[in-house]
Symmetry: C2
Subunit: 184 residues, 2 copies
DNA sequence: TATTGTTATACTCTATAACTATA
DNA sequence: TATAGTTATAGAGTATAACAATA
């Protein structure tokens, strides 16, 4: 049984109180789980990202949306939501925050008044460019660990993970978490 | 990992065959950003995970903690927090939820009364085993896309992302908002 | 004084549902 | 009837800060 164990406190497990180093725990089946390594990598990158973007306070998703709106002026929320597999209500809140910061604006579509076309404001364009520069440096801290061919293969493998579910299921909501939620 | 879960942001980027559905947007610099692909892959795996574990309703983080406690009986929260780069308050909440479901229990350490040793309950052991089985099938749906050597290389690359702070600096505290939150 | 656990607080994400205004 | 946006609500994750007990 796995869990009944009886290790007394300090045995082998953790470094005792005051012990300096990291805890070396038995990772069990986690070492073989692709999703586990993926999440750990995601967290590591996120933490560096956060420090990098502290000044701009743009989350990865917010940056993604700014980039999408910047590259596709007039794109509507529903398309962003689908592309990023987000709920439309979640997308709403995200866009609200960006709009509140005056980084983008909504304009009712002239051809379909239900739609609100999205455009970056001048400030949004400036912030986006700043963000791109910061992110480039941030990215380099990780990509520099790989050779050109390694990086290419790495990204191809990541795409192989997320570009497969084409036909079958419709998208689903996400849930995280986390890297951040208890969500995966 | 750390996160308890939530991460996920987009998915579905794919060029879907179904013409009608997906928007074809210019992804701009996103296509070159490692962190973006990592998040997308994370989301894809998370969504499959979510469907797989719907019956047990265990988030990836919750499963991770159960596995760690199962493999390391008596481990304390602070060590789990450090290993997974989570805040100790976040870890607290996570453990609270597992305890509320009677999957694990806290016992005050006999040698350091500040500590609470963690142990799986009998029910926790059973749920953990069920989860392991479900996850094995879930994992296979993704790992089957790679050859043995490819998978090995892939995981090594992921580890290269998150195991960098090993020698020199300690890792860093937390700071994540969620892969969750608008977190990575 | 430092550490572990804890609580309180606030913000965000996520999902669902229902409502609006258009189409 | 269907779609795009919107609002309301609920449950969860995450981070910060402060506190208690113990070392």
């Amino acid at each position: 049984m796995a869990g009944d164990g009886k290790l007394e406190d300090g045995e082998g497990l953790a470094p005792g109180p005051g012990g300096a180093g990291k805890p070396r725990l038995d990772m069990g089946c986690l070492t073989e789980i692709l999703g586990f390594h993926l999440r750990m990598a995601n967290v590591a990158i996120f933490q560096d990202y956060q420090q990098t973007m502290a000044g701009l306070s743009l989350t990865p998703k917010q940056f993604t949306v700014l980039e999408l709106v910047g590259r596709n002026p007039g794109v509507v929320q529903i398309d962003i939501a689908e592309l990023l597999s987000m709920d439309k209500a979640t997308t709403m809140a995200l866009v609200d925050r960006l709009e509140a910061r005056n980084l983008l604006e909504r304009r009712t579509s002239t051809i379909d008044r239900r739609r609100k076309d999205l455009f970056l404001t001048k400030q949004g364009q400036e912030v986006l460019q700043e963000a791109r520069d910061l992110i480039a440096a941030h990215e380099k801290r990780f990509t520099s660990r790989f050779s050109g061919t390694e990086l290419e293969a790495f990204i191809e493998q990541l795409r192989r993970i997320y570009l497969s579910g084409e036909g079958p299921h419709g998208d689903q909501g996400s849930g995280d978490p986390a890297g951040t939620a208890d969500t995966p």
